[in-house]
Symmetry: C2
Subunit: 201 residues, 2 copies
């Protein structure tokens, strides 16, 4: 929570207001906890602003983030704040046909997810995009990082994008406006404790 | 998100289930973003489990966390999931009388907050406590870290506690079950950009 004045005032021809409201790309990476949790916390702020929020979960299991999903669905349907659309790779993306959902590999599914994000960015469907665990498909080379950077750079309007996951490519970190590295200092699993309900999911 | 088996199985006489459901103390510290945001993301999971959640905001300004507060209030009142109680030091703690709220210093207010947390822990009022920015009063010596550790160690029942803030004392980190350090890799303020609505609050 940095406060007060920025240390550098850039010579970019923008007013403070224009600079302040510039759309951001945020990356939460590192091996510690809190990367996705913090992204969903950010979604609460966006919801409070009345922004349409789009979540794309680039993970295999549909069981992940059940708590966050239910909370954001209840918020999106509360009639207060913004709307929330929640897309899950783990269930086969909803825009794919049933047969296509079953036949697709994880690699193809990740690419399908990215294609939809591109369509939504072009259409300015959301004001905040949570691309949960999207660092992985880039890291594994399933989705081309250079293309991601180029699409994000040229996205129209005011669309904020937060990307989570370990091993976010350097190229993405170079491009992003805000990068936080979550490092593990200590975790209960080190002491032989498994994950638990309400804490890990 | 560590997966699979723990690397060490301790010889502590507990079953895996008992060990799994052990109440946790979590600390989010470091100079990067996401410490509080991740704590409120965790509150979504607790809410989803139907747990009573108590938030204690140890910050001066009542304006902070407005997005998270509204979201969690809407969730708490939705009739689904758990209840949410939100206590703000910045408005003078609600349990204090009006005259007392105005006359109190920040240091006294922080101590009053901690006294209430102690009462709630003893009464098992909540199942998740978010002690937002509580690292500061400990760091400044307003609240005795040794006492905090001792109260947390002896708390009854299954009460999880997450503490956020920079400069969390080493003694607390030693005691905590899970510690994540959020490090700043890059922040828009470095490029002369101020905080913006929906992102910083």
């Amino acid at each position: 929570m940095p406060q007060g004045q920025p240390t550098v005032v850039p010579d970019d021809g923008l007013t403070t207001r224009q600079r302040r409201n510039r759309p951001l790309v945020l990356v939460h990476t590192g091996v510690g906890k809190g990367k996705s949790t913090a992204a969903f916390g950010l979604a609460l702020r966006a919801w409070n602003q009345g922004w349409p929020v789009g979540v794309f979960q680039f993970v295999k299991s549909a069981k992940w983030r059940v708590g966050e999903e239910r909370a954001l669905r209840v918020l999106g349907e509360s009639g207060e704040g913004g709307t929330v659309a929640w897309h899950k790779m783990g269930e086969g993306w909803s825009w794919l046909q049933r047969g296509q959902q079953d036949a697709i590999s994880s690699e193809e599914a990740a690419r399908e997810g990215w294609e939809q994000v591109k369509r939504d960015l072009a259409a300015e469907t959301y004001r905040l995009y949570v691309l949960d665990e999207f660092a992985y498909p880039m890291h594994w080379g399933w989705v081309d990082t250079e293309e991601v950077v180029s699409v994000l750079r040229d996205r129209p309007g005011t669309q904020h994008v937060v990307i989570t996951g370990r091993n976010a490519p350097e190229r993405l970190l170079d491009f992003a406006d805000l990068v936080t590295d979550m490092s593990k200092v200590k975790h209960p699993m080190d002491a032989g404790q498994k994950g638990q309900r309400g804490i890990e999911w």
